[in-house]
Symmetry: C2
Subunit: 201 residues, 2 copies
């Protein structure tokens, strides 16, 4: 609909869809700089999006921008996790996921982390809606892992617990990798989780 209007009026944005660019720019900033440091100015500077249309696209201002970024990042990551857990066995899925993170960490020179986790760590008083959304996203990941383990004959109690450990350990390891500027914590984490995934049930 924006396209038709553009064709009619002859106006044109600098790049396709400023709103979408702002959202992806916010996600990138969340990864690298965290929630508090993800200001409107920073997103605009990084994306070249027009300052004048921020409150047009996000009437709720900065909080709404962060919310839409969290929604988008959460959906993308959740769909990938659900895809992996449905098409692979638990250990293979975990290794695939870890490989993606290894790539993200190295490619960003250990600057980029998990945007959902960034909001989870920083959000407390302000924006309880963001905290709620982040909690739902983690719950979705936990559910995907639990169901996968159940399909592979893990007892329900163990499946839930192992899913909790997996989410906690991967997220924690990503932070350790960033701060140490090496992938060892992630490798170590996956290697040890392998014992639980392949060993006893």
């Amino acid at each position: 609909m924006a396209a038709t209007r553009r064709a009619r009026t002859g106006t044109r944005p600098r790049l396709p869809d400023a709103r979408a660019r702002m959202i992806t720019g916010a996600i990138d900033s969340l990864r690298v700089h965290g929630a508090s440091a993800t200001s409107i100015d920073r997103v605009l500077a990084a994306t070249g999006a027009p300052r004048g249309s921020v409150y047009h696209h996000f009437p709720g201002g900065r909080t709404e921008l962060l919310g839409r970024a969290l929604d988008a990042a959460g959906a993308t990551m959740s769909e990938y996790i659900e895809h992996l857990t449905r098409t692979h066995d638990p250990m293979t899925a975990l290794e695939q996921f870890a490989a993606l993170w290894r790539h993200t960490l190295c490619e960003s020179d250990f600057r980029a982390g998990c945007p959902v986790f960034a909001i989870a760590v920083e959000t407390n008083d302000d924006a309880p809606e963001l905290a709620g959304t982040a909690a739902e996203i983690f719950a979705r990941w936990h559910r995907a892992l639990t169901e996968q383990l159940l399909r592979h004959d893990y007892p329900p109690a163990r499946a839930t617990r192992l899913a909790s450990l997996t989410v906690a350990a991967i997220e924690g390891a990503i932070v350790l990798c960033r701060i140490h500027r090496e992938t060892t914590p992630l490798e170590d984490t996956v290697t040890e989780l392998r014992v639980l995934y392949t060993g006893g049930q």
Copy 2:
């Protein structure tokens, strides 16, 4: 020395040692609000410390305050971890440590997390010194855990990896507990780690 001068001049601060109060106030703020949100104003408001002496005690300003808070928090936590790992077997030490966190989480209504982790997650461009300090603290914890496992006859390679997983998983679980407002992720994490700590070596 401050006490003698106080006795001589007759002046007196509102409470003992403004500098120490600012540091503990900064640690509390780091726990609850994160690094970016830990402003000088917030620390002063929370502690009632005098605004006029901030740059007297911390010539480097906010960054130095955060640095001293990180030093203090890191030292306290490291000493406790080293105490636990020296006086208990691996599983008991882990459970003691988890019990402390369960208490901290519940008592703070799931608002307080780990101050070192908060800085690790948020610090990127600004203040590389803080990032370096945080990395050293995590390395110290990792070392304490590794040496404990070595003393309990774990092979070196496994000891290192299990120590990495433990640090990552506990830190990650604390964040999940905060965002979900329940201790289940921590309980699950410890229960599953128990398998690795007591099962195979």
